[in-house]
């Protein structure tokens, strides 16, 4: 582990893909994508609709099996690993269409996530009160994301935007090494956008974040690195300034005014 210390000053690549590709019945959704996600950095994946961003997410998290290419997580090849295993190795995602446990309360939602890293998920012989020791951490997360007021509400009763926030809270509960966020701000009101952006920045201090986002001001604000996809292929990469100056990116994605 001495090596880790030595390289800490340099960016450390935690998740990388090489030559990643995926076909759907003759249609190539993702092709030849190389990607490096670094520790303590926020990496944005942007591109027009249908460019293949969500598909890349699905490939990286193994919800889809790649047709081509190789994926490495924390130095281990995960090209053929099952999605739950990948999650246990420290790569956790959110979904583009919000995903919560609707009939559980906000706190229970977070606690379900906390159970696994705390080794409290297979004990069928323990009473539920065994989970009480997760309360403090859960409440802390809920507080952090401004959901304290809704702690005992059922997730189903939350508005769309708050469901997204809750989803981020559950994701953070796993304290993942790499966080994949699919359009975390979509459908959120402005004040939430700023808050969530702040949260993402904070959590990125200790982990790598890869996010898909159409809200370019957020991307410009918090992302260290941007990769632009179009028709499944990478057309540009670099920091926001570089990328947004690229004429190909402007015509394909941003349009005239951005």
């Amino acid at each position: 582990m001495a090596a880790t210390l030595a390289t800490q000053s340099q960016p450390r690549v935690v998740l990388s893909a090489r030559g990643l590709g995926r076909d759907f019945a003759g249609f190539t959704a993702v092709n030849n994508v190389d990607l490096d996600v670094e520790h303590a950095r926020i990496h944005a994946l942007i591109g027009p609709n249908g460019a293949g961003k969500t598909t890349v997410f699905n490939l990286l998290t193994k919800f889809l099996q790649p047709t081509r290419g190789q994926i490495t997580l924390l130095g281990q090849d995960i090209t053929n690993t099952r999605p739950d295993k990948v999650a246990r190795m420290g790569l956790v995602r959110s979904f583009q269409i919000s995903a919560v446990f609707p009939h559980l309360t906000v706190r229970e939602n977070v606690k379900v996530a906390l159970q696994r890293p705390n080794g409290l998920s297979t004990q069928f012989w323990l009473p539920l009160s065994a989970l009480d020791r997760l309360d403090a951490r859960a409440d802390q997360l809920i507080e952090q994301l401004g959901l304290a007021q809704y702690r005992d509400h059922r997730a189903a009763d939350l508005s769309y935007g708050r469901k997204r926030v809750l989803e981020i809270a559950t994701t953070l509960a796993l304290d993942p090494e790499v966080l994949l966020l699919d359009e975390p701000m979509a459908g959120m009101g402005q004040e939430d956008v700023a808050m969530v952006a702040g949260i993402i920045r904070d959590v990125a201090a200790e982990r790598a974040v890869l996010m898909v986002e159409h809200n370019l001001s957020v991307v410009a604000d918090i992302c260290h690195h941007v990769t632009v996809l179009q028709r499944g292929e990478i057309i540009a990469r670099g920091d926001y300034a570089t990328v947004s100056a690229d004429p190909r990116v402007r015509t394909a994605y941003m349009g005239s005014e951005a």
Binding site: F24, A25, F27, I46, G47, P48, N49, G50, A51, G52, K53, T54, Q96, I97, D157, L158, S159, Y160, G161, R162, E183, A186, G187, M188, G189, Q190, E191, D192, A194, H214, L216, T251, A252, Y253, M254, G255, S256, E257, A258
Partner: protein, 234 residues
């Protein structure tokens, strides 16, 4: 001035036992685009669903083109000329893109032709034979809009049509809305994307906890910015 095309008075609505709309008043004139602004969970979607008649536990008055919409069964609202694009898009997985597009029955003349639609949304043409829900999020949004444009509805209810769309597409949709306006289309828009709304709307409503708390035409926008900042954090 003639009577408004859509007139909503004292609309109240419930989800089960939870009271969500507490007396919404709004009107839309023929050919006008209005935009309802408001933070999450204030009842914007609920307002549209109540007007459309999808949410049936409601009271108050809804008049469209001189007809009382409260008594109409759900499948008649579309025939009266209302078209709805839901927030969750409602693309059908068991239908191909093209079948999705062709699904809503034509209710009047004057809708767009399929060629026009494909010209507007080239992605859809390219993926016309794939399964509806295999489209990307943004493509699904386009499809949801596109299929209503075909039917010849006089008044569109759009629930956050730009959510999750790339800036180029948002721009394109903005242009479509301008074009539709040119043809005299009436639009009720629910939006979080204020910059987009500012470009297409003629008049704004601000919604807060199930009521309209402010109303102003686009001309007053600059004057209202402070208030909006306060209310929406724009």
């Amino acid at each position: 001035m003639s009577a408004p095309l859509l007139n909503v008075r004292d609309l109240q609505a419930w989800y089960g036992e939870s009271h969500v709309l507490h007396g919404v008043n709004l009107h839309v004139n023929e050919g006008e685009t209005i935009c309802i602004l408001g933070r999450n969970g204030m009842g914007k979607t609920t307002t549209l669903r109540s007007i459309m008649g999808i949410l049936r536990k409601r009271t108050g008055r809804i008049q469209f083109a001189g007809r009382d919409m409260m008594a109409l069964p759900l499948h008649q609202t579309a025939r009266a000329g209302l078209g709805f694009v839901p927030e969750e898009r409602g693309i059908f997985a068991s239908l191909s893109v093209e079948e999705n597009l062709m699904l809503p029955p034509k209710v009047a003349e004057g809708g767009m032709s399929v060629e026009e639609i494909y010209a507007l949304f080239p992605n859809l043409e390219e993926r016309r034979n794939s399964q509806g829900t295999k489209l990307s999020g943004g493509e699904q949004q386009m499809l949801a809009m596109a299929r209503i444009l075909r039917t010849g509805a006089r008044c569109l209810l759009l629930d956050e049509p730009t959510e999750g769309l790339a800036p180029v597409i948002i721009q394109a949709i903005g242009e479509v809305l301008q074009k539709l306006k040119g043809r005299g289309m009436t639009v009720v828009l629910v939006e979080q994307n204020f910059r987009f709304a500012a470009k297409v709307a003629d008049r704004f409503y601000l919604m807060d906890h199930g009521r309209m708390t402010a109303e102003f035409p686009v001309a007053e926008l600059p004057a209202q910015m402070d208030m909006l900042h306060r209310e929406l954090g724009v």
